[in-house]
Every structure is written in structure tokens, then in C-alpha cells.
């Protein structure tokens, strides 16, 4: 998955809470709708926003991860569900169960795959644009120790992955490579040793006597406001559409997708809402003249 890198963009300049809210609103849209136009719009929005936020490479990486998973979901669904009126392939019987493939199950699988891809792309945008330290600072006042544990996990997972890779190389250098169990045990014990070292480092920095951190009150910047408003617009459009019954999809027994002005309006609202942080002169960073 993409990792956070500081960039000059409105999403990076906004406080972690605002950018997280925008990503959460987009994820909420994916959760509420299974309409292909809406899901494709969310993916398009995420890619567009990512490119505008200068994390295009990270978005490409997220896409490389999400496309195979989406295809897998698309292909598995018709194997599990045989409902639907349009038979594409008549499969045989196995253990008393028929394995027919229907067009409806394939289409439903494609929508489920699209939704998975949407979630993953949104998570990719979130990972690339939200500083985990800032995010953890938000949660620290709620549950300090849990937030710090999450921070440690974020920091140490790549370190442990590098450790495991090194141990793999070391195993290749042995004339008689050790069994997998022995290597797994050694890797685990190495991870525990690292954990003990980290715990010691935290101890000597006053972790055991730490109190609840004091609240920081930073003024809202224009980027905070614009990203926050964008999150609210996306959330509001999603909710309004859901309440109004926009984006209906019937999967079985016949596949039917509602496509009218309401769906197009919802897609447009999502595009405009999420694009707000990048619109106009105010989206530029450092507009003041020296």
C-alpha cells in the first residue's frame, strides 16, 4: 500500500482530520452504493484528486493492488451464486451442487469487485495524503496507548519486513539451509527482541509516566476549511441520494441498473464536491507575494 510522503498539495496541507474526513466520505459512498456509475465516479474522483495532490505514483501502486483483487471477486462471485435468469455456462454437479454461471451473478460480482477497488483506492489516497503522526495525535487524547501502539506498528512493520528479507538472504547463504520452522521461529524471536528494544526505548523516554496529552488548538487554514467542506459535500450528496433512492441496482433474478438524471447528478455532485479543494486560486499553496 502507498505510504505517506509530504507533498505540496491542499490535501497534505490540510489538517489530518479534514483529509481523513474526505476519505471517509468517499469510503462511505462506496459502502452505500453498488451502482456502477457512482462507484466508477468515486474511483475517478480518487485518481483525479490523487494526481492533483501529487501522489499519482502512489495511486498507481494502489491500482496495481486493487485491480487483481477486484477481478478475483468478480470471478469468484458467479462460482458461489447460481441465481439469475441468464445462463452463460452450464457447469457440472459436484457434491450435489450445480455450478452454473449466470450473467447476473457475473455482473453482481463485477459490482462487488468495483466496490472493493473503490475502497482500496480510497484507502490508498488516505495512506498517501494523511500524516499518520498527525492522525495519531487526534486519537491520542481518546486512547493514548492504543494510538501509540498503532503508531509503532506503522513504523515497525517495514522494519520487520526488512529483517525477514535479511534472514531469508542469510538462509540462502547457509550450505544447508535451515528448515522453514526454524527460520520462522528465529524471525519471530527477532521480532520479539526488536519489540523488547522498542519497549526499553519507550521506557527511558517516560512512557510509563505519560499522562493524557494536552489539546492543541491550531487555527483552521483555508485548506482545512476547503477540504472539510468537500468532505461535508460528498457526505451530504451520498446521504441525500440514498434517502431519495438514487442509484438503485437489482441484481437477481434479472440485472437492472437505474440510470437517469438523478444518478448523473449524484456523480456530478461527488466530482464537484471532492474537487473543491483544488478549485480556484485559493487552492494554490503559498499565494502571498514576498
Amino acid at each position: 500500500m502507498p505510504v505517506y510522503r509530504a507533498r505540496d498539495s491542499p490535501l497534505h496541507a490540510a489538517r489530518a482530520g479534514a483529509t481523513t474526513a474526505l476519505c471517509a466520505a468517499l469510503a462511505f459512498t462506496c459502502a452505500v452504493y453498488s451502482h456502477p456509475l457512482v462507484l466508477l465516479t468515486v474511483i475517478l474522483v480518487v485518481v483525479g484528486v490523487g494526481v492533483a495532490a501529487r501522489v499519482g505514483a502512489e495511486m498507481a501502486r494502489a491500482a496495481r493492488l486493487s485491480v487483481p483483487l477486484a477481478l478475483l471477486v468478480t470471478l469468484i462471485n458467479p462460482l458461489l451464486y447460481a441465481e439469475g435468469n441468464t445462463l452463460l455456462v452450464r457447469g457440472g454437479s459436484f457434491l450435489g451442487r450445480r455450478f452454473d454461471i449466470t450473467l447476473e451473478a457475473l455482473a453482481a460480482g463485477a459490482l462487488a469487485g468495483l466496490r472493493v477497488a473503490g475502497f482500496m483506492m480510497v484507502f490508498g489516497l488516505f495512506s498517501a495524503c494523511v500524516d499518520p503522526d498527525d492522525l495519531l495525535r487526534l486519537f491520542r487524547r481518546v486512547s493514548y496507548r492504543s494510538a501509540l501502539t498503532a503508531s509503532l506498528a506503522t513504523r515497525l512493520v517495514p522494519v520487520l519486513a526488512r529483517d525477514a528479507m535479511r534472514m531469508g538472504d542469510a538462509a540462502r547463504c547457509r550450505p544447508q539451509p535451515p528448515g522453514r520452522l526454524a527460520v520462522a521461529r528465529a524471525t519471530l524471536s527477532g521480532a520479539l527482541e526488536r519489540a523488547v528494544d522498542v519497549a526499553a526505548a519507550l521506557e527511558v523516554r517516560g512512557y510509563s509516566t505519560a499522562g493524557r496529552p494536552r489539546a492543541a488548538r491550531a487555527p483552521w487554514s483555508r485548506h482545512d476549511l476547503r477540504v472539510g467542506v468537500a468532505a461535508a459535500l460528498v457526505g451530504a450528496a451520498t446521504l441525500t441520494g440514498a434517502v431519495a433512492g438514487v442509484g438503485n441496482v437489482a441484481e437477481y433474478p434479472s440485472f437492472a441498473v437505474a440510470l437517469g438524471p438523478a444518478e448523473v447528478a449524484l456523480a456530478a455532485a461527488l466530482l464537484l464536491g471532492a474537487g473543491l479543494p483544488f478549485a480556484g486560486r485559493a487552492a494554490r499553496l503559498g499565494v502571498a507575494h514576498a
Partner: protein, 533 residues
């Protein structure tokens, strides 16, 4: 400010389930603004003493304590590391495991946030410490993008952000290259001199620490064996494994008093009218390298290993090797030197077959053994005898210790055991070692030199990637100096190291490279001739 920052009275300590105490009857006082170096071979109790001073012993590690230890007026028995953190900052060996947060700014803020400071006070503390320690340019960087040296500087800054009066460091330079290590020492010296922070540091590279120190505590088997100023310590350590090269040079030459720095040594020699004629080897080194690469080495015996026009281009990264040619003869002992990123480790991986050349080829005359930088990665069993077989233990200096858990061995012992693990397959044409002396004490280095000599005598070519010029001068009969992906000098140790500036030994610096003397023994012989004439 109190007169004494820390005081120990007859402090003894044993780790849980260990019969042998790690500290025995230690009595000492640490004064404000002092710079104390803890000296001692591996396992002498340096790390344990530092852990006791910061409260990790006994509160974190458990075990049995006797005697008294007070830090900042707090008894270590009653106050844990969290409370002692108000008085002392602590920095450990491995920079990777002491940096907790994803960003440098958040990392520096952590300790003051733990203390419950207001956000404005946190921000000020972070800015101040970052500017004072020269890490302000790193504040907006992610910690996973920092080099080892940068990470260690951030760790020092994080330990100092709440302005402790005592800074404890446990081999902070052992994982760093020499340049980063020297930079860190300069930083500590500045901290001590300009801000009066008391420093207690344990390090095997005493030559690097002594110039800054005003006191040396030498530990042996957990007890204080010497507590003196640097000059007094050098007299005490004469002829022993803790004596730094420059002091050993004077000691062997029968000169005194023993110097603590290269500059000091040079001035004393000048004062005594002993100014050996400097070498001109540096100017000749370039010619020697060309001759070796294309002439002499090509016409020699069949090689143990050879790289021809070797290129290694990393995907979306730099080019690690650029058409490199290198030929290693059987029985040859080669030190591969160069700055970080020059391609040393990549070349060794090619010899072992762990990397695929982008272009060019690598040929070896038989099996290749490769020991990578972390010996612990090779040790996957519960007992030393299971790793390399009972018969290999004497070669690793572990005769009779087959039941020992490899993780309980000292760094040097682990390194030697790991070497036996990779050699367990039988005779090798080439043995490659990658930075084997990192964090090693002098005794372990000597044992490694002996083992390398045995391997070479058995006909194996030995190539060692190292930053340690003193070690290279002792074991190698050829030095290959790498620039970015290419060989930039290739010759005997005297040819390459005697006239070098960065790649040189302390003895060569003192003697100006005279007669190619690199080691204290060779230097003493040069001085003896000067004394006679």
C-alpha cells in the same frame, strides 16, 4: 545544580536466571558537565551499568540488585526509568529500534508530550533541540527515509529534547560508518562543552572517544578496574586490548607520556625531534591500481573469483556497480573499502550469487561463503552446537560451550559462530565477509584476523568489506578502494592506506605515512630506526 548527578555505592547486579553477576561492587560518581567514557571488552558490564543508570535495571530487566545507586537524587530501587527520564536521556546501539514515530518532528515531540507539556512548549522544545543538534533540516522528513547516521542524530535529539542533565549512550556509533560516527562524537563533544550536559558513553572505538573525555572508567568482569583521567587510563591499559593504536605505538617505541590523540602524538614526536620522512605513496597509488587491474592480476594464477565488466543497476534507483573488474587470487586476503553506497556489499552479493548482474559476468572457482552484516540472522537454533556442528565450535572460540544459546553470546562470538555456519559446507574458493568488525572489541578482531589467515592458508580467497582501516591494515595483503561502483585504487595496504587522508590508519597519520607503516608494531620499528639514527 547538585555536585553529583549520579552516585553508586557497592552496586552489584545479576540478570534473572544468570548465576554470574553482571556488575560487582561498582562505586562511582558522575559530576555535572563531565564526559565519562566506559571502556571494557565485550561482556565487561558497560551496557548493564548504563541500563542501571537509566533505571532499566532492575525495573525493566528484573534481576537482583545489591548496593545503592542514585541518579538525580532518586534511588534507582524506588524510581523507574519513567521518573529517571526527567534527569537522564538514553541512546542505544541500534537507531532503528529507538525511533518510534513516523516523522522526525513527532519523534522529537514524544518525550515532552509524555511529560504533559503544553503544545506551545512542545513546539518550542522541538525547535530548540533541532537547531542545537543540527537536525532542523530533517524535521519534516519521514524517519524511514533517514540514513543510519541521521537516525542516530535524531535519537540523540529525542533523548535531549526535555533538557536532561545527563546523557547516557551505549555504543551509539557501532552501527554507523566512520564518518557518521565521527560526526556524532563531535556533536556529543559540543553538547558537553557548550551546554554542560554530562555524557557517559560506552564505545569500543576508544580512539574516537578519548579526545573528548575527561575521565575513563574501565570495567572488567563487572567491576571497576580503572577510574582515571585519559592519560592515567592509557598508562593502565598499556599493552592490553584496550590500548588505542596511537598509545600502543608510543608504548612499543618506548616513548612517553602516551598521547590520547593523533595531533598530540605528532606534537610529542616533533618535540622529541622525531619527524619521520613522509611517504609519497599517495601519488603512486593511482598508477598501482591501473597496473593491478589490467596487468599483473590478469597474468597471475587462475582466480578464486573474478568479476568482469560487472554492472548492477537498481530498478528506480542508483547504479550500484559500473563495469567493475576485479580478480581475487586463491589465498589472497583483500580488504574492500569505500564509502557507504560505493557498491561493496552489492559486489559481495554478486560473488555469492544473491544478485543478478545487469551486464557483465562473475566467475568463481568453487563454493563461495558469504557472511552478511548481521550475524544474528544466521543463528536460528537454540544451541550453538546445532548451528555449525560440535566440531566447528573450537574455530569459533566456543569450545565446550555447545549448549550456549547463540543469542546469549557476545557480538564477537556471534560473528565467529556465524562465520563457521557459512563455512560448514566444506572448503570454499572464496570467503566474503561484509562489515564483520562492527561493534567488535579488539580481542574479537584479533581472533578474526587469525581465522582469516587460516582460511587463506587453506587456499581460499578472502574478501572483506570494511570501513575499519586499522583492521584492514592488520589482516589484508591487498586493499581495493571503491568509488561509486568502480575500483579507484588497488594495491598493498602500505600503498593505499599510508598516503590516504580518510582511508588511513592513526599510526600512518602520526607518522605521515613514513615507510608505509600502518600498525603500531610497524610504526614503532620506524621510530626505533629514527631513534638510532
Amino acid at each position: 545544580m547538585p555536585d553529583v548527578l549520579a552516585s553508586a555505592q557497592e552496586l552489584s547486579y545479576a540478570y534473572p536466571a544468570r548465576s554470574r553477576p553482571a556488575l560487582t561492587g561498582v562505586s562511582l560518581e558522575i559530576h555535572p558537565g563531565s564526559f565519562t567514557v566506559l571502556a571494557g571488552i565485550s561482556g565487561s558490564g558497560k551496557s548493564t551499568l548504563l541500563r542501571a543508570l537509566c533505571g532499566l535495571v532492575p525495573h525493566f530487566y528484573g534481576g537482583e540488585v545489591a548496593g545503592e545507586l542514585e541518579v538525580g537524587g532518586m534511588s534507582v530501587r524506588d524510581h523507574g526509568p519513567g521518573e529517571l527520564a526527567a534527569v537522564c536521556g538514553t541512546v542505544f546501539q541500534d537507531p532503528e529500534t529507538q525511533v518510534v514515530m513516523g516523522g522526525v518532528r513527532a519523534e522529537l515531540a514524544l518525550a515532552v508530550e509524555h511529560r504533559g507539556d503544553a503544545p506551545a512548549a512542545v513546539a518550542r522544545a522541538v525547535e530548540e533541540v533541532a537547531l542545537a543538534l543540527g537536525v532542523a533540516h530533517l524535521l519534516d522528513r519521514r524517519t524511514d527515509t533517514l540514513s543510519g547516521g541521521e537516525l542516530q542524530r535524531v535519537a540523540v535529539a529525542a533523548a535531549l529534547v526535555h533538557r536532561p542533565t545527563l546523557l547516557l549512550l551505549d555504543e551509539p556509533t557501532s552501527q554507523l560508518d566512520p564518518v557518521a560516527g565521527d560526526e556524532l562524537m563531535w556533536l556529543l563533544r559540543r553538547l558537553n562543552e557548550e551546554w554542560g550536559t554530562a555524557v557517559v558513553i560506552a564505545d569500543h572505538r576508544l580512539d574516537r572517544c578519548l579526545p573528548a573525555a575527561d575521565r575513563v572508567l574501565a570495567l572488567r568482569d563487572g567491576a571497576v578496574a580503572c577510574d582515571a583521567e585519559p592519560a592515567g587510563f592509557l598508562e593502565w591499559a598499556q599493552g592490553g586490548p584496550l590500548s588505542p593504536p596511537v598509545a600502543r605505538l608510543f608504548s612499543l617505541a618506548g616513548l612517553g607520556p602516551l598521547p590520547t590523540t593523533v595531533k598530540d602524538a605528532r606534537e610529542r614526536l616533533r618535540g622529541a625531534g622525531l619527524a619521520p620522512k613522509p611517504a609519497t605513496a599517495a601519488a603512486e597509488a593511482g598508477d598501482v591500481s591501473t597496473a593491478r587491474r589490467w596487468g599483473v592480476r590478469r597474468s597471475g594464477p587462475p582466480p578464486a573469483a573474478e568479476a568482469r565488466g560487472l554492472w548492477h543497476e537498481i530498478e528506480e534507483g542508483p547504479t550500484a556497480l559500473r563495469g567493475l573488474d576485479l580478480r581475487i587470487a586463491p589465498g589472497e586476503k583483500v580488504a574492500l573499502m569505500g564509502r557507504n553506497g560505493a557498491g561493496k556489499s552489492t559486489l559481495l552479493r554478486h560473488f555469492k550469487g544473491l544478485a543478478e548482474p545487469t551486464r557483465g559476468r562473475v566467475e568463481t572457482a568453487g563454493e563461495v561463503a558469504l557472511l552478511l552484516q548481521n550475524p544474528g540472522d544466521y543463528l536460528v537454533h537454540d544451541h550453538a552446537r546445532e548451528e555449525a556442528g560440535e566440531s566447528a565450535l573450537p574455530s569459533a572460540g566456543l569450545a565446550g560451550r555447545g549448549e550456549a544459546n547463540p543469542h546469549d553470546l557476545s557480538g564477537g562470538e556471534r560473528q565467529r559462530l556465524a562465520l563457521e555456519v557459512v563455512l560448514a559446507g566444506g572448503p570454499c574458493a572464496l570467503v566474503c565477509l561484509d562489515e564483520p568488525t562492527r561493534g567488535m572489541d579488539t580481542a574479537s578482531k584479533s581472533a578474526l584476523v587469525d581465522r582469516i589467515a587460516v582460511l587463506a592458508a587453506d587456499g581460499a580467497g578472502v574478501i572483506v568489506a570494511t570501513h575499519d582501516t586499522e583492521f584492514a591494515a592488520v589482516f589484508a595483503d591487498r586493499i581495493v578502494l571503491m568509488g561509486p561502483g568502480v575500483v579507484i585504487a588497488d594495491g598493498t595496504p602500505a600503498e593505499v592506506l599510508a598516503g590516504g587522508w580518510h582511508f588511513s590508519t592513526d599510526v600512518a597519520r602520526v607518522l605521515g605515512g613514513a615507510e608505509g607503516a600502518l600498525t603500531p608494531e610497524a610504526g614503532a620499528a620506524v621510530l626505533a630506526r629514527e631513534l638510532v639514527t
